[in-house]
Amino acid sequence: MLLDQLKEAVINGDQDEIKVLCNRVLEEKFNPVEAVQNGLIKGIEELGRLWTEGEMFLPDVMMGADALKLALDILGPELAKAEAAGIKRDVKGKIVIGTVKGDIHDIGKNIVSAMMTAAGYEVYDLGINQEVAAFTEKAEEVGADIIALSALLTTTMPEQKKLVDYLREKGLRDKYKVIIGGGPTTQDWADEIGADGWSETAGGAIALCDQLTA
C-alpha cells in the first residue's frame, strides 16, 4: 500500500505527498531500499513509459523527477546506512551532468537530466557555468559512469573538448564515458573531440546512455 502510494506520488509529481510518505517510511522503519526500488522508481518508470508512448508530457516527467529527488534527499541517510550494511539497490548507472563554463543555458540540460532520472539513472546535476574540474571532481566523488556536457553556444563548445583533454591529462579518460549535447553540437564535433557519444534529443540521450552502460 505504502509502495503504491509512493509510486502514485511520483506519477503525480506531488511533493507534499512525497514528504508525508517518506516520513512514514522513516517512522515506520520501512525498508528504505524497498521504498525506492518498488515504490518511487516504479512511478518514475511508469512516467517514462507513458512519455515514450506520447500519453504524458515533459512537465509530468520533470515533476516526477523532482519528486523522486526530494524523496532520495529525505531517505538519503537511511539509504546510506542500508548501503553500508551491504543492501545494494539497482542503479542503471551514475551520471554527472552540467552546462559548461561560460554557458548559462539550461532548459535542454534540465530536460535531459530529468529524463535520465526517469530512465533509472542516478543523476548529479551540477547546474550551469561549470569548470571542467568540477565535473571530474564530482565524477570521482560519486563513482560516476558517464559525464554529460551541455553547450548551447558555439563559443562554449570548446569547453567540451577541454574536458576530454583534461581527462586524458589526468589519466582518467578510460574511467568515464563522455557524452555531449546542445543546439550547435553535432556527431562530427563529438568525433572530432573524442567524445563517446552525442545526441540531439533527450530521448536519444537516454538510448545513448543505455548503450554506453550496457
Binding site: 509529481g13 508530457f57 512537465p59 520533470m62 515533476m63 530529468a114 540531439e200 534529443t201 536519444g204
Partner: protein, 476 residues
C-alpha cells in the same frame, strides 16, 4: 468567455451598400427561376412574375429573411455528434463532389472504394463534424442512382450528421424517406432536423430546376439548406469583388426568401463559394487573396442578416500535394475562420478547383483545420491564465517545466499536431518524410482505426428494400 477573434473586412456602411445593391438587383433585374412550383409560390406571396422571372419586393425579402433562425441544432444518430450551426460554432465538412482522385500526382476516376475510404476517414477524424455529402463521384456506379448508395453508406457506416441529395425534388424525397425510419418518422424529423443540403444557385441570378426542386422539399420538412452562390468574378460576375458580392448576395437572399415563404423558420445557411476567373485561360481559380476576402465578407453579410454562414474551405488550384496546396488551403481556411464563418464545406481533400480529391491532402487539411479551430477559440485571459503567482514563484532565469500550473494548462492550451513534424533533425533524417509521406501514414492509421458503428438489421433491410425499389424505377 467568448472568443474575440473577429476579422472584419467590411465596414457597416459597406455591408449596407452591398445589401442595397442586392435589393435593387432583386427588384429591377429579378431572378430567373426554372422551377414552376417555386415561381407559383412566390407569385402567390405577392411577388411580380413575368414568365420564369421573379421580381422581389425589397420589404418582402427583408421580412422573410428575418424569419430564418440565427442558430439551430442538427441531430446525429449518435447524439455526441449533434452539431450546432450558428453563433461562434465552427463545423467542418469534408470535400464534396470531386470526380477524380489524385495520388502522388497521378489523376484517375474515383470509385466506390474511394467513397468508402473517405467516409471512414470523415467518421474517424475528430475535427470533422459531418460525415459529408457526395464525398467523391464514384464512376463505377450508375450516375442515376449513385446518390442512393451514397446516402445509405452515410446512414449505415457513420453516426455523424450527413448531407442530403440535391438531385431535384426526387433526390430530396429519397433522402427524407431514407432518414425518416432511422430518426423516428417524418414528424420527428420536422421537430429535429437531421440533414443539411447544399443548394447551389446559377450565377448570375438564376435558380435551376433541380436545386430549386430539392430546396422546396427540404423546406417543407424543416431540414436545413445551404443556399450557396459561386460567382466567378470576371466571368459569371463583375470583375470587382464588390459587384461580385452584390450578385452573390442577391442570389442567396432569393433562396432564403423562397425557403421562408415555403415554410417560415426553415433553417438556412448563407453560402459563399465565390471566386475569381483566371483572365488568361478563363478557368476558375478558387484559392487566392480575392476569394479569401469574399469568404470573410460573407461571414459579415450573414451576421448582418442574422443567419449562419458557410464559406471557405481547404481549397487550392494545385494538382498535387505540394507547397501550393498547403499555402492556398491555409489562406482559404484562415480568413473565413477568423471572420466567424460557421460551417466550412470542402474543409479537407480538395485539389484542382474542386475537381479532385486526395487522401494525403485530406490529412494535411485536417491539420490546418485543427490549428485554426484552436485559433478561433481565441485567448483566455483571467487571473489563473495570467499566472502572476507562478511567475513570482519561479522567478527570473528559471523555468516552468516542473510547475503544476504548466502541467495543468498545457494540455488544454496547446493543440497536439496530427501531421506536423516537430522532431529534431536527427529524428527526422532517419526517414526524411515529407508532409505527404506522413499524411499517407496517418491516413492508413485512421482507416485502421475505423470501427463499424452498426445499424439495426431490420432497419438495414427496410432501407435496402426502399433503395432497390427506387433503383428499379430510376433505371427503367
Amino acid at each position: 468567455m467568448a472568443s474575440q477573434v473577429s476579422l472584419r473586412v467590411l465596414t457597416e456602411d459597406d455591408i449596407k451598400q452591398v445589401h442595397e445593391s442586392s435589393l435593387r438587383l432583386l427588384q429591377e433585374v429579378g431572378i430567373e427561376i426554372e422551377y414552376q412550383p417555386a415561381v407559383d409560390i412566390l407569385r402567390d406571396a405577392g411577388q411580380r412574375v413575368e414568365g420564369t422571372r421573379v421580381y422581389f419586393d425589397p420589404d418582402f425579402v427583408q421580412k422573410k429573411v428575418a424569419e430564418a433562425p440565427e442558430e439551430f441544432t442538427v441531430y446525429a444518430r449518435d447524439p455526441e455528434f449533434n452539431v450546432q450551426i450558428g453563433g461562434n460554432n465552427l463545423v467542418y465538412v469534408p470535400g464534396y463532389g470531386a470526380p477524380f482522385i489524385i495520388e502522388r500526382g497521378k489523376r484517375r476516376a474515383t470509385n466506390w472504394e474511394d467513397y468508402m475510404n473517405f467516409l471512414k476517414l470523415a467518421h474517424v477524424a475528430k475535427d470533422m463534424n459531418l460525415s459529408g455529402g457526395m464525398l467523391v463521384e464514384p464512376s463505377d456506379l450508375d450516375e442515376r442512382t449513385r446518390y442512393l448508395d451514397a446516402l445509405y453508406a452515410h446512414i449505415r457506416y457513420s453516426t455523424k450528421c450527413l448531407m442530403g441529395s440535391s438531385y431535384g425534388a426526387e433526390g430530396a424525397n429519397d433522402t427524407i424517406e431514407l432518414l425518416a425510419p432511422v430518426f423516428g418518422g417524418r414528424e420527428a424529423l420536422k421537430e429535429k432536423p437531421v440533414v443539411i443540403t447544399l443548394i447551389n444557385t446559377i450565377s448570375p441570378l438564376k435558380l435551376d430546376e433541380r436545386q430549386t426542386g430539392a430546396l422546396l422539399e427540404y423546406a417543407k420538412m424543416n431540414q436545413p439548406v445551404i443556399i450557396a452562390s459561386l460567382v466567378m468574378a470576371g466571368s459569371t460576375g463583375p470583375a470587382t469583388l464588390a459587384g461580385c458580392m452584390a450578385v452573390q448576395n442577391a442570389e442567396v437572399l432569393a433562396g432564403i426568401t423562397l425557403a421562408q415563404t415555403v415554410s417560415p423558420g426553415t433553417p438556412v445557411i448563407y453560402g459563399c463559394a465565390s471566386s475569381i476567373t483566371d483572365m488568361h485561360s478563363g478557368s476558375v481559380s478558387i484559392a487566392n487573396g480575392e476569394s479569401s476576402l469574399m469568404a470573410a465578407a460573407a461571414a459579415q453579410m450573414a451576421k448582418f442578416y442574422g443567419v449562419p454562414c458557410r464559406s471557405g474551405g481547404g481549397l487550392t488550384d494545385s494538382k498535387t500535394v505540394d507547397g501550393q496546396a498547403g499555402y492556398e488551403a491555409a489562406v482559404m481556411l484562415f480568413a473565413p475562420v477568423s471572420a466567424g464563418t460557421n460551417i466550412i464545406l470542402h474543409t479537407a481533400g480538395i485539389l484542382q478547383y474542386w475537381l479532385c480529391m486526395s487522401y494525403e491532402k485530406f490529412v494535411q487539411d485536417l491539420e490546418i483545420a485543427g490549428m485554426l479551430r484552436r485559433f478561433r477559440r481565441g485567448l483566455e485571459i483571467n487571473e489563473d491564465t495570467l499566472a502572476v503567482e507562478v511567475v513570482s514563484k519561479v522567478g527570473p532565469g528559471n523555468h516552468f517545466l516542473n510547475q503544476m500550473h504548466t502541467r495543468k494548462h498545457h494540455r488544454k492550451e496547446f493543440r497536439k499536431p496530427l501531421l506536423s513534424d516537430r522532431q529534431s533533425y536527427e529524428g527526422w533524417v532517419l526517414e526524411s518524410l515529407t508532409s505527404e509521406d506522413r499524411a499517407e501514414r496517418v491516413r492508413q492509421q485512421m482507416l485502421a482505426a475505423y470501427e463499424d458503428p452498426g445499424l439495426d438489421e431490420s432497419l438495414q433491410r427496410e432501407l435496402q428494400s426502399y433503395i432497390e425499389s427506387r433503383k428499379a424505377e430510376l433505371l427503367k
